[in-house]
């Protein structure tokens, strides 16, 4: 009966041919039948939407299934890689992450749900990638990872995974976080490139619609780093930001630049209340 209703709905949508918005699915995500994921949350005050929605709701049944079962989620291999790096001694101090932080399941629990954070030392926000680099340089006597290189994606994935299921919330009262949020908001609504589109052109005005084969979501960040079927590999958040900007035919800001950090602060706020889904699976 449910199926019949769904098909009737599809027929109506097709009859309206494009005028209709394809709704995100009305389904619950429970990973391994245990971990309940918040994929819909009431939007924080001042948000353009009433409800924030996870990108998971916009993906096909096959893709959704891959994320719901950690035995078939291809990104769980990256989590295992991350655990290995966590325990590997590197640098002149002869230490691994575990030397100081012990068991990540305890020391890193839920931490990934509350980044970016303000970093007084550098006077700017840090994300998990930058915090890892800080510990490597300042505490291990090891070199900072270059963007998307070395252990950066596996470790970030591993740390975020320790917050799986925890709702995202960031503290904008720290340092100058509010200022960075403002800058991020400006960027979100700035039209870029030869195609003259802003983030909002696709992820706000047209969320729920199709752009060619892609079902446009709200462009939430709660699943990153995530597995992209198209790349057959793990994709970092700043790589995704850069890809979306490139698609407007604009120059891409560098990873971890002021622009992309401001965008990360603002877009993370836009997903307040959604669970961390790392490692999510998307197209």
């Amino acid at each position: 009966m449910r199926k019949f209703i769904f098909m009737a709905g599809t027929a109506v949508a097709l009859a309206l041919a494009g005028a209709a918005v394809a709704e995100p699915v009305d389904e619950k995500l429970v990973i391994d039948g245990e971990i309940e994921i918040v994929t819909k949350a009431k939007a924080p005050e001042g948000h353009p939407f009433d409800e924030v929605l996870s990108g998971w709701l916009f993906r096909t049944a096959e893709t959704r299934a891959l994320e719901a079962d950690s035995f078939i989620n291809p990104a769980m291999l990256t989590v295992e890689d991350g655990e290995r790096v966590w325990n590997t001694v590197e640098g002149t101090e002869g230490k691994s992450c575990a030397s100081c932080h012990g068991n990540a399941a305890e020391s890193m629990k839920d931490i990934g749900a509350h980044y970016p954070k303000w970093d007084a030392a550098t006077n700017r926000p840090v994300n998990i990638e930058l915090q890892i680099n800080k510990c490597r340089e300042e505490r291990m006597g090891a070199e900072a990872y270059a963007f998307d290189k070395g252990g950066q994606r596996p470790l970030t994935t591993y740390i975020k995974y320790q917050a799986l299921g925890t709702p995202v919330s960031i503290d904008l009262s720290q340092g100058e976080m509010q200022k960075w949020w403002d800058t991020g908001k400006d960027l979100y609504y700035t039209r870029t490139g030869q195609l003259n589109l802003s983030c909002a052109s696709c992820h706000e005005v047209n969320a729920g619609k199709y752009i060619r084969a892609d079902h446009l979501s709200q462009g939430q960040v709660n699943g990153f780093p995530l597995y992209r079927l198209k790349n057959q590999g793990i994709v970092s958040l700043h790589n995704r930001f850069r890809g979306c900007i490139r698609d407007t035919r604009a120059e891409m800001p560098k990873a971890f630049s002021d622009e992309l950090m401001a965008l990360e602060v603002y877009v993370t706020w836009r997903g307040t209340g959604l669970s961390v889904e790392t490692p999510a699976v998307r197209h």
Binding site: G193, I211, I245, A250
Partner: protein, 153 residues
């Protein structure tokens, strides 16, 4: 006086341009009147068959990214960001369609997400290799407009 200087300058520019293409109108010189562009921007007629290619090519018009077009049902995946283009020539004249393709913002307002295909009013931080370039050439615009003219119900 001003006027005549401008005219001379324009004439000089046209003189230079004429070596390349007969009467191509530069993107900044296209005249919009009441949501229409009456003059062919390439100075030549459009070819609807090539227009269909430009329309579907992801590298050129990529119109299917945002529009459904039943006349191209053999192409996979039509978007629905913009209206269905079936019968679009019954709704708009050729001059209006030209204005929409050249710079949709001149017709629909600044808020529209449809790119201007022959306009230099673009977003910030344009890729270096595309600075000063339009998405489509003047002739490609005319070809697409000629193709849109075939979409009648």
């Amino acid at each position: 006086m001003r006027f005549s200087v401008a005219t001379i300058a324009a004439a000089a520019m046209l003189g230079l341009a004429s070596q390349a293409a007969a009467e191509t109108v530069a993107p900044g010189d296209v005249k919009f009147e009441d949501g229409t562009v009456t003059v062919s921007v390439s100075g030549a007629a459009g070819d609807p068959a090539n227009g269909a290619e430009v329309f579907k090519s992801r590298k050129l018009g990529n119109c299917l990214a945002c529009h459904t077009n039943s006349a191209m049902n053999n192409e996979l995946f039509h978007g629905d960001v913009g209206p269905v283009l079936d019968g679009v020539a019954d709704r708009w004249s050729a001059e209006e369609l030209r204005a929409i393709v050249v710079n949709s913002k001149a017709v629909f307002g600044d808020e529209t997400v449809m790119p201007g295909f022959y306009s230099l009013e673009v977003g910030k931080f344009v890729s270096e290799d595309l600075v000063g370039k339009t998405i489509l050439s003047a002739q490609e615009v005319e070809d697409v407009v000629a193709y849109l003219g075939t979409l009648k119900e």
